[in-house]
């Protein structure tokens, strides 16, 4: 369990990090090292150079830009977990953070690292897809933005160019007064990667009817899946468990679920329906508590 030898650089800014990436095909960025570290220990990754971006000034922040909360790529997961702005304006992200690994991995792991890693079971990836976040990277001295739904291409495969460095993630803020969130996942051990997860964010009007919904399923398919048909069908509706179950079942009937030693495709499909129903129920309840 010892990684192969590599060179180590600590660039002063993000453009220098990109230049180092461009100069060496074998170079990789390291942020929190909570995924790259294990991969290197098992020699599944053998970078020739590690480009440590964790201390680049101005890359770790949580910023309120009104319609969006912007999270810098190297912001540590435990910072986001405890950030009052995230709690107030991005309740879905706040909700999932305790499920991202353990206290000790969140102390090092970054938001950008989780996004770039693109694990379909990663909770931050699920939130980015569910809410429709915009991801911004630097490449060759220029910034480029991309929708989360276009960024994630497959398990651990993203649209990020090899010479690019993720700079920030922009999460949309819902202005409605009564917004509630729900999240459920099933795994072998608390805080391990999920076999199936579901996230829901719902806005209610004064009568308890849904005015807007976003629903996502993680870990079941190669990239997190948005259940837009379910979200649309909820509009104008109060919570009705039987109906939500039917909607979720219909939406998930045709998916190509992943299978592994722990969970078959059939199991994932079946559990995804239940996780979705629970997440939606929680989101309704959470929103109903707000004035």
């Amino acid at each position: 369990m010892k990684p192969a030898a590599f060179e180590y650089s600590r660039p002063a800014d993000i453009d220098e990090a990109c230049a180092l990436l461009a100069a060496d095909d074998g170079a990789r960025v390291i942020a929190g090292g909570q995924t790259l570290g294990p991969l290197m220990a098992m020699r599944l990754a053998r970078p020739s150079r590690l480009i440590d971006i964790a201390r680049i000034p101005g890359l770790a922040f949580v910023r309120d830009e009104g319609k969006e909360i912007v999270v810098g790529a190297t912001t540590r997961q435990h910072v986001v977990e405890n950030d009052p702005l995230v709690r107030a304006k991005l309740p879905l992200l706040a909700k999932v953070m305790p499920f991202v690994g353990h206290t000790a991995t969140r102390a090092r792991g970054t938001v950008g690292g989780s996004l770039v890693n693109g694990d379909p079971a990663a909770e931050i990836v699920l939130v980015a897809v569910t809410l429709g976040a915009i991801l911004v990277w630097r490449d060759g001295g220029e910034s480029q933005s991309i929708a989360a739904s276009d960024f994630f291409l497959g398990p651990m495969v993203t649209a990020l160019p090899l010479t690019a460095c993720l700079a920030e993630a922009r999460f949309p803020v819902w202005p409605e007064p009564r917004v509630g969130v729900g999240f459920h996942e099933i795994n072998a051990r608390q805080s391990d990667f999920a076999f199936v997860s579901a996230a829901a964010q719902i806005a209610l009007d004064a009568d308890g009817c849904c005015t807007r919904a976003a629903i996502g399923i993680g870990a079941a398919t190669a990239v997190p899946l948005r259940l837009d048909a379910v979200a649309d069908a909820l509009k104008g509706q109060r919570f009705d468990e039987a109906r939500v179950r039917e909607l979720a079942k219909a939406a998930l009937a045709g998916i190509e679920a992943m299978a592994d030693l722990h969970a078959s495709a059939e199991y994932r499909k079946r559990v995804a329906v239940t996780m979705a129903v629970r997440a939606i129920a929680d989101a309704y309840q959470d929103a109903a508590r707000r004035p």
Binding site: A5, G37, P38, A54, H102, A104, R108
Partner: protein, 162 residues
């Protein structure tokens, strides 16, 4: 590469290959063998140390990443020679260990919890050690030890030092 480390409030300059983990640096270069090597890929938690007060896995950090932060290992926890911290005492009293392999890491993870929260619920205690595997105790006495230490710390005049 030369790197300056601040370990248990002492400065050390060590010459390391970039691929040397902080864990191996502590154990092999500085002979601080309290951080244990279990899986060496982030799963077991046996290598836990404190970095600026937060529990982290020292096998998932390279020594070259560790300059400029304050590292605390189990060796740095006791208040003086021959003394034990309240957590260490409580682990002894409640039999919070059997083989002891997981123990330094459990104590440091608990230390990080209690330095922020001296009245943790059982759930908070369990969550704080959820990343640490123990193959012996079944965890019950570990949880008991942490609760006992918390109770004692709450009774101290200086509750900030678990």
């Amino acid at each position: 590469m030369k790197v300056e480390l601040d370990i248990n409030r002492e400065r050390h300059t060590v010459d390391v290959e970039p691929r040397l983990s902080l864990l191996d640096c502590l154990r092999d270069k500085l002979l601080l063998t309290g951080a244990h090597a279990g899986c060496e890929h982030g799963v077991c938690g046996a290598c836990t140390v404190l970095v600026d007060g937060a529990a982290v896995r020292s096998c998932l950090m390279f020594a070259v990443q560790a300059d400029g932060v304050a590292i605390t290992t189990i060796e740095g926890l006791s208040p003086g020679p021959g003394e034990l911290s309240p957590l260490q005492d409580a682990f002894c009293e409640t039999h919070g260990m059997q083989c002891g392999y997981c123990t330094p890491a459990m104590i440091l993870a608990a230390h990080a919890l209690l330095s922020k929260n001296t009245s943790p619920t059982r759930e908070e205690i369990v969550d704080a050690i959820s990343g640490n595997i123990c193959r012996c105790t079944g965890y019950a006495q570990i949880v008991e030890a942490i609760a006992l230490a918390a109770e004692r710390i709450r009774g101290q005049n200086d509750p900030v030092r678990p």
